[in-house]
Amino acid sequence: MDVTLGLLDQLPSSDGGGGVPSGGSTTMRSILTGSKSKEDNNKNTMVVSTEVTSSYPAVVDDESLDGLELGLGLSIGGGGLKSKTAVTGGWSQYARILTAKDFPTTLVSEPNNSCSSSSSVNIPNSSASGTKRTATDSVSPPNGTSVVGWPPVSKAHRMPNLANQMKSPTENFISKSEQNKSKNRTVGIKDYSDERNGTANKKYRSVKVNMDGTLIGRKVDLNAHTSYEMLAQTLHEMFFSKWPSKEAVKPSRLLDGTSEFVLTYEDKDGDWMLVGDVPWEMFISSVKRLRIMKNSESNELASRCEENSERYRD
């Protein structure tokens, strides 16, 4: 358990399951390549042991996969260190989905030993670690499943656990897009997430972040942050890195309500709250997702909160 956490801490992941913009990724990769040589063997072993016992909590952090994968000499599905599709992460040599290829009784022969073949049966789609565009590939598969899009259940038919049969509509659906009143139509990264990740798995806490006015949704690993300031810093890098000079969006100002934007979050009960009011620990245990709102709307949020609480009083 600790190991996995430790691993994640190593990587200042801003984007557990999603695409990383070019700015961010170079930072990531330099860290990863730097660390891989000395750490990989140890890490691999350690991670592997957790992998085997737990259900792939680290899968979701694609950056960590990057690091591991490069370190291992993979023989299954290709010896290519470069080929990420061959095996999507070092751990997969030891702990991957058993597929047709694994069953000795079958007539299946292992066809691919070259890089060019995608022995994708392993983890085909999450191979897009750090991939920007095929953000779909980097969907953090929920606990226990290592394959994106499997089982093939569409959005409308993904039910929460029976235990979660509360009247909280947002918990029901694994939403695919994060467009909230967005006007821009840019070809950009789309982030997918499985809401179950946010609630079920404490070792890796990734939540979606959306900003009003952008199509691009991102993901933040909360466990990789220890304070509101750190979070604000990360968000600033994610969303406002293009506006270096804009005073209004300095990280600190995101939190204090003086900037044009306000950081809000949705908690377990489905209510939208302003970030920063509760202690950090309490915050990360109840947050489900984040939204960077334009300031005018936060007033609406405040009044709607009041409205909601009145309604339930009846």
Partner: protein, 592 residues
């Protein structure tokens, strides 16, 4: 050209024919006055396509009488071509992304944006009345454009679309004065409030279909109630989970004429009303054919729907976490149900009840309550499926998610129900063999294709070798749609399928060891198909390039991701088209 001009043309032609010649030498014995009314009765687009191929007169008569155009792949044709051929369209159906986009295999910004279509539609068909979209990217601007540019617009249906928010719906509600249908299903949007329902004007009374079950937003119940009250023709009402039972009861009092009902949360916030009252209200809805929703329903409230179950044709319990005995209780009242959707936590016992109580059942879908459940304690097994097949001989559509299956069980099932048209079996553990014999599941699907001559759609799963595909290619003569994942041993598998299955239209494959040789073996087949999807197989860019070169009327699109080698073709989407390569392809989609 208008009808009179056409008539005079054909009259001229008839006159110019030697009056002594026999009927058979005329190109078309029917004058347009006869032909067009007859053709206008034909709805099926497949039939209309056939009609248009008979002769030139029929082609023209058909194109003038066509009111609805169905475009199964928005990139297969350009709207200019459509508008040129069909001048009088009132209704358009458009489908966009490949089906695997439902499972996150297609990047969000892949395309299928409806906006370019809307711009041309506004010019070509300003009196457009209906628009039905499936898997298209629809923005708020598009919805606003739609609402404001088509004065006669009546019906909007969005199935599995994304990109819009409540703002777009507000525009529709505000501007479409004659709206009869607003149907939103299975969308991947995150709606954060914005009460669009209140935007329907007081003057709107024409609504017949309102489905917002898949939207999370809180709507004003007051506005909804008023809307339901004044729309006397409302026949389909599907609310979202935020509407509770008390509110539903009020709505049903105003709309007992409903034929399709989607409830909200089937509980009361406070117990304000005895169950008997609610039961009476449901009993007054004598025309109900479909019930869905039923979130949070439990044993206490279950009896409320019994009076409505008598004439029920479709019961959708896929949002209701019923246990087996609760399902049995409901089904006792549903003798005439033909379509049933349930969650797998009803278990095999629940399915036994299905077999016992629903002799007229034609379609069953069993969804996993917890698809990612690693414990695998819950769910259904092969015995549940067998029970259903024993009790429901008319069963022809099955979608079944399970954790285990045997070859023998599937063989038994198809023996009991040889009329299968849709057989979609999903053994959720990848590459799982027959759990009793440990053999591959080849014989199961072999039995399906051999025993069911009407099979149109097949989805396979479990441990499968090339033998499965040999069977499919050999026996599945009517197969149109095939979905394959994590199966096969070599190129032969795909070759068998491409070499057989004469009616294949859609083939979607992921994570199979099929390579270029297999892809190219189907060279001549792809133009008779709508599309082929292959992801995470063994295709290379070179193989795809060869295909693209040989078959210029196909779009061979490769989606690149940074991690795959340059030579690999990680995701390939191939489809026939008369519109040439896409002009709106994002940078990661390469058309070869």
């Amino acid at each position: 050209m208008d009808l009179d001009q056409k008539r005079s043309r054909s009259v001229d032609r008839v006159d110019s024919v030697d009056p002594d010649s026999s009927e058979s030498t005329r190109t078309c014995p029917f004058p347009d006055e006869v032909l067009e009314p007859v053709l206008s009765l034909i709805d099926s687009h497949k039939d209309r396509s056939s009609v248009s191929l008979v002769c030139k007169d029929w082609y023209h008569a058909e194109r003038w009488s066509r009111r609805h155009v169905f475009i199964g792949n928005c990139y297969s044709v350009s709207l200019e071509i459509v508008a040129g051929r069909f001048p009088k369209i009132r209704s358009v159906t458009l489908k966009g992304k490949p089906r695997f986009s439902d499972f996150n295999l297609v990047p969000e910004d892949w395309g299928a944006d409806v906006h370019p279509w809307l711009s041309v539609l506004a010019e070509a068909y300003p009196f457009l009345e209906e628009l039905r979209l499936k898997r298209m990217a629809v923005s708020d601007e598009s919805l606003e454009f739609l609402a404001t540019n088509f004065t006669e617009f009546k019906a909007l249906s969005l199935l599995s679309c994304d990109g819009f928010s409540m703002e777009g719906l507000k525009a529709i509600a505000t501007h479409c004065r004659n709206l009869t249908e607003l149907d939103i299903q299975e969308n991947g949007i995150d709606d954060l409030g914005g009460d669009w329902l209140s935007c329907f004007p007081e003057t709107l009374t024409t609504l017949q279909v309102l489905n917002f079950a898949s939207l999370n937003s809180e709507v004003s119940f007051n506005a909804l109630e008023k809307l339901v009250t004044r729309c006397k023709s409302l026949r389909v009402l599907k609310v979202n989970r935020n509407i509770n039972l008390d509110q539903l009861q009020k709505l049903l009092l105003w709309a007992p004429q409903l034929t399709e009902l989607g409830t909200g949360s089937f509980t009361q916030d406070l117990v304000t009303r005895p169950v008997a009252d609610l039961e009476t209200t449901f009993g007054n809805c004598k025309n109900l054919l479909t019930i869905s929703g039923l979130w949070d329903i439990n044993s206490v409230y279950l009896p409320i729907i019994y009076p409505a179950c008598v004439g029920l044709s479709f019961l959708n319990l896929s949002c209701a976490a019923l246990r087996s005995f609760e399902l049995a209780m409901v089904l006792m009242h549903c003798k005439s149900v033909r379509r049933l959707w349930v969650l797998d936590n009803v278990g095999d016992a629940g399915l036994e009840a299905v077999g016992s109580w629903c002799p007229l059942l034609e379609e069953l879908r069993v969804f996993p309550a917890d698809p990612f459940d690693q414990e695998e304690v819950a769910g259904v097994t092969e015995s549940g499926l067998i029970s259903v097949s024993q009790g429901c001989p008319k069963l022809h559509y099955i979608l079944y998610f399970c954790h285990q299956m045997t070859n023998a069980a599937v063989a038994t099932v198809v023996q009991n129900c040889p009329g299968f048209t849709h057989f979609r079996l999903c053994i959720m553990n990848l590459g799982q063999p027959d759990y009793l014999t440990n053999e591959p599941m080849d014989e199961a699907f072999g039995a399906v294709v051999r025993t069911c001559p009407n099979l149109q759609r097949l989805a396979v799963s479990g441990l499968l070798t090339d033998l499965t595909f040999e069977y499919i290619g050999k026996y599945a003569k009517n197969l149109e749609i095939l979905s394959v994942a994590f199966a096969g041993s070599s190129d032969l598998g795909l070759k068998y399928v491409l070499g057989g299955c004469p009616r294949l239209r859609k083939l979607e494959i992921r994570d199979c060891p099929f390579g270029n040789a297999a892809l190219l073996s189907g060279l001549t087949k792809y133009e008779s198909m709508r599309s082929l999807w292959m992801s995470a197989c063994n295709l290379t860019m070179n193989g795809c390039r060869v295909l693209a070169k040989e078959m210029p009327r196909l779009n061979v699109e490769v989606m690149k991701d940074e991690d795959s080698e340059d030579s690999q073709a990680h995701k390939v989407y191939i489809y026939r088209t008369v519109a040439g390569p896409r002009r709106d392809a994002p940078p990661f989609v390469l058309t070869l």
